[in-house]
């Protein structure tokens, strides 16, 4: 008798392990999805508007049209992710029924619940969630997230927040590893995360799930910076399809993510890419328009 079980933590977290060292690209139609696959993306994020457009157009941002997600699922062979609003477990149920490979419970969309995130243990499909610090990452893992991405500030083309969040998460982890046992109890209290998980991270020196970076990556050097800081891979949202030559820039970011320690290859990948997306300086963004503040 062979028992077969779906949706286990090992299967959900393992899926993210397979994406490591890769670039996940935001796409809004099948044409872009194919360009992303040709460029070497390990997965695509299907959404109706890239964050830069959500920012520009305003209004409530929601889960994408199932027709649009279906068409992207059918157009590429690589995994397809899609976004649900924070706390909107029905959008997540719909995305699971569509057969997407990963759900991003994302601060880029307008939150549907200002107190609670989705109980992700209830799902067979795995979830990725954003975090700005270790406490937030561990709360999301406690709720069942199988992958974490640093939030950065999506749709700005400005890498500064991604850098801040990666340094914060990894710095928080480093500090745990040198704490004594009694200090870990206080650390758990301060991080607002379960003690068992805090103790595990202190012992292993890493998150129990894969850690990607997102939010503001626009160039090959940005991607390599994130990898050198310790990311397992990168999400690129507006940075590719809001640039002058998406196919070329996408491929260049893939090369820089692979060769992230090789300055010469990163330089070669950076040549003649045409215009990068126009960025936004974070200090000109009012607090209310900072997506990274969403999530609790």
């Amino acid at each position: 008798m062979t028992e077969s079980v779906r949706g286990t933590s090992r299967v959900k977290r393992g899926m993210a392990e397979m994406l490591k060292g890769g670039v996940i690209m935001d796409v809004i139609n099948t044409e872009q999805a194919k360009i992303a696959e040709d460029a070497g993306a390990v997965a695509v994020m299907a959404l109706e508007r890239v964050p830069a457009d959500i920012r520009a157009q305003g209004g409530v941002a929601r889960m994408s049209d199932p027709d649009m997600i279906d068409s992207i699922v059918n157009s590429v062979s690589i995994p397809v992710m899609a976004k649900a609003r924070i706390g909107h477990f029905v959008e997540a149920q719909v995305l699971e029924s569509l057969g997407v490979d990963y759900i991003d419970e994302s601060e880029v969309l307008t939150p549907a619940d200002e107190a609670n995130h989705i109980d992700k243990w209830n799902f067979t499909v795995p979830f990725v969630c954003g975090a700005t610090n270790l406490g937030e990452a561990l709360r999301r893992i406690t709720e069942g997230a199988a992958m974490i991405r640093s939030k950065g500030e999506a749709g700005t083309g400005n890498v500064v927040e991604a850098t801040r969040h990666m340094r914060q998460i990894l710095g928080d982890i480093k500090r745990l590893t040198v704490m004594s046992d009694e200090e870990l109890f206080t650390a758990a209290k301060n991080l607002q995360a379960p003690y068992e998980l805090v103790a595990e991270v202190a012992k292993t020196g890493k998150l129990p799930v894969v850690l990607f970076t997102a939010g503001g990556i626009a160039t090959p050097a940005d991607a390599a910076l994130m990898m050198q800081l310790g990311a397992d891979g990168v999400f690129v949202g507006s940075g590719i399809f809001k640039s002058g030559d998406p196919a070329k820039r996408g491929a260049a970011i893939v090369q820089a993510t692979l060769n992230y320690k090789d300055a010469k290859k990163i330089g070669d990948a950076s040549r003649g890419l045409g215009e990068a997306m126009v960025g936004i300086n974070i200090d000109t963004l009012p607090e209310s328009e900072r997506y990274a503040n969403r999530g609790w």
């Binding site: 062979t2 028992e3 077969s4 079980v5 779906r6 949706g7 286990t8 090992r10 299967v11 393992g14 899926m15 392990e17 397979m18 994406l19 490591k20 060292g21 890769g22 696959e37 070497g40 993306a41 390990v42 997965a43 062979s77 690589i78 995994p79 699971e96 057969g99 997407v100 490979d101 990963y102 067979t124 499909v125 795995p126 893939v254 090369q255 692979l258 060769n259």
Partner: protein, 196 residues
């Protein structure tokens, strides 16, 4: 003796950790020069299309094909199996096929991520073998000179999931995500027998 793990994309660190646990010397392979330094190679899990594209851009596609031809021991898990297979269904036309094992595999043949599963396997070699299948390829046809070492039973259907052809080994599942290390031990023994 050193075993290389192709480190273009995917869970290569888990393979290196599994080899290290067995006391083996394991290194990441990203260039043709690095490949020349190793006695054997593992192609990890990941996205087979991405690994293919990056192997071509680094020249590793030709270098690996050459080493396979000269008899180097090689093991591929999941995406790695797809690259080693003679024939790929539902793949991209431009993806690499090293023709190391005469099998026909279907990419994501067990379904999408929501269908990914863990199961106990049946095997002629291992007593309690568990398999972690993640968007796994399915072997649809076994050709010549292929030995089946393990099977999985899904909905009453028995499917081969671990195969060997000479010095090439492949699994649909990810033993690198398990702690038991038996599949890696089997491969390491293959390499040692070949070297002695």
């Amino acid at each position: 003796m050193t075993i290389g793990v192709l480190a273009l994309q995917g869970d290569f660190r888990e393979h290196i950790a599994a080899l290290a646990k067995l006391g083996e010397n394991a290194v990441e392979i990203r260039t043709v020069e690095q490949l020349e330094q190793v006695a054997a190679l593992i192609i990890p899990g990941g996205e087979s299309t991405t690994i293919s594209l990056l192997a071509k851009s680094t020249g590793l596609d030709l270098a690996i094909a050459e080493r396979i031809k000269s008899g180097m021991a090689i093991y591929g898990s999941c995406a790695g199996m797809i690259l080693l297979a003679n024939e790929i269904l539902d793949g991209r036309d431009d993806q690499i096929s090293f023709n190391a094992i005469d099998i026909t595999v279907r990419r994501n043949g067990f379904g999408r991520q929501v269908d990914s599963f863990e199961a106990k396997l049946k095997s002629t070699l291992f007593a309690d073998l568990m398999g972690v299948f993640i968007r796994a390829p399915k072997i649809e046809k076994i050709g010549t000179n292929v030995e089946v070492l393990a099977w999985v039973e899904v909905q009453g259907e028995r499917t081969p999931v671990m195969v060997r052809s000479g010095s090439a080994l492949a699994t649909c599942f990810h033993p690198e995500l398990n702690d038991d290390g038996v599949v890696h031990k089997y491969f390491v023994d293959m390499v040692h027998n070949q070297q002695s």
